[in-house]
């Protein structure tokens, strides 16, 4: 669902339009569940976060003065609910990602320096969703340290703005930008390793 549709849905919810409640719950429950599942790593926790968030959304709806802010507002509540569940994070510790380590390695081939990189140009845009790549993407995001994972989920998966992500996470916009870049580079590196190591339809399978 696009953001404009969510905003419309929020307005319909206030106006008590039939089906608005069911559609709102169905849409945001799945969205919050997904974010929390990738943040908490546990299905049960993610379902609890989704329920607790929706309850808080209805309880505090009066504080949302602009329906335009529905998506970041819901995510702010979800992020706080996730923090309460952090007791058993199964993912990587909060290590810093270093830029140097995320730069592609260079090698000399035919007297020229080249970077070691998979042939991304041969993956057609419409194959970006093929399941193998999708699994690798999910793993790559899941393996990111938490502080990077939350930023890439809000900015690139949920397509919130830098300012909105900064407000949700209580960070400066500069920190969001820095973390987003490193998160993207780390995910890119994992996908590149996958592409170089596996046979990809439409890609090359040289395996290094």
């Amino acid at each position: 669902m696009e953001r404009e549709d969510e905003i419309e849905l929020a307005r319909q919810l206030i106006a008590e339009e039939p089906k608005a409640f069911d559609r709102f719950v169905e849409h945001f429950r799945a969205k919050i569940f997904h974010y929390s599942w990738l943040m908490c790593g546990h299905r049960e926790d993610a379902e609890e976060v989704a329920q607790e968030t929706l309850l808080k959304v209805f309880e505090n709806f009066g504080q949302l003065h602009e329906p335009e802010r529905i998506r970041p507002w819901v995510f702010r509540i979800a992020k706080n609910a996730c923090l309460m569940k952090r007791r058993k994070s199964v993912f990587a510790p909060n290590a810093e990602l270093s830029l140097d380590e995320l730069m592609p390695a260079r090698e000399q081939r035919g007297g020229q320096f080249k970077i070691q990189i998979a042939d991304w140009s041969r993956i057609p845009e419409d194959q970006l969703l093929q399941s193998e790549l999708k699994d690798s993407l999910e793993t790559a995001i899941g393996e990111l340290p938490e502080v990077y994972r939350s930023v890439i989920l809000l900015r690139d998966v949920e397509e919130l703005s830098t300012k909105e992500a900064a407000q949700i996470l209580d960070l400066s916009e500069d920190v969001v930008k820095t973390r987003l870049h490193r998160a993207r580079l780390a995910v890119r590196k994992k996908l590149d390793e996958h592409l170089r190591g596996a046979t990809v339809p439409g890609g090359r399978s040289e395996g290094g």
Binding site: L13, I14, E16, F21, V25, R29, A30, F33, H34, W37, R43, A46, E47, A50, Q51, L54, L55, F58, E59, F61, G62, L99, M103, P104, R106, Q112, F113, K114, I115, I117, A118, W120, S121, I123, E125, L128, L129, L133, K134, D135, L137, E138, I141, I152, D156, V157, E159, T162, K177, L180, H181, R184, L185, V187, R188, L191, D192
Partner: protein
């Protein structure tokens, strides 16, 4: 200079690529990145892989979905929604 040699410009470009892809770079810095990309095919290739990574994240739809909402959980939400509507009517002049 061999354009495939790793250079300071490559490193500088690498450091700002996300800002460049997000159209967040000031015009002058943007022109510098574009000037560098004109002559450096490894950086172009790298930038393309990063762009596709972002595209992949944007198109990503979750594998895991929540279980269907149970009756008591739905009832709890519906009650909260009713309270929300009552409160909003009370608040209106």
């Amino acid at each position: 200079m061999d354009p495939h040699q790793p250079s300071e410009r490559c490193k500088e470009t690498f450091a700002v690529l996300s800002d460049y892809l997000n159209l967040d770079l000031p015009p002058e810095a943007c022109r510098e990145v574009e000037a560098h990309l004109e002559g450096c095919s490894p950086c172009v290739e790298f930038a393309e892989s990063l762009r596709k990574t972002v595209e992949l994240c944007r198109r990503y739809k979750p594998t895991e979905l929540p279980l269907p909402l149970g009756d008591s959980a739905r009832e709890q939400l519906r009650e909260a929604y009713q309270r929300m509507l009552t409160a909003s009517k009370t608040a209106r002049p």
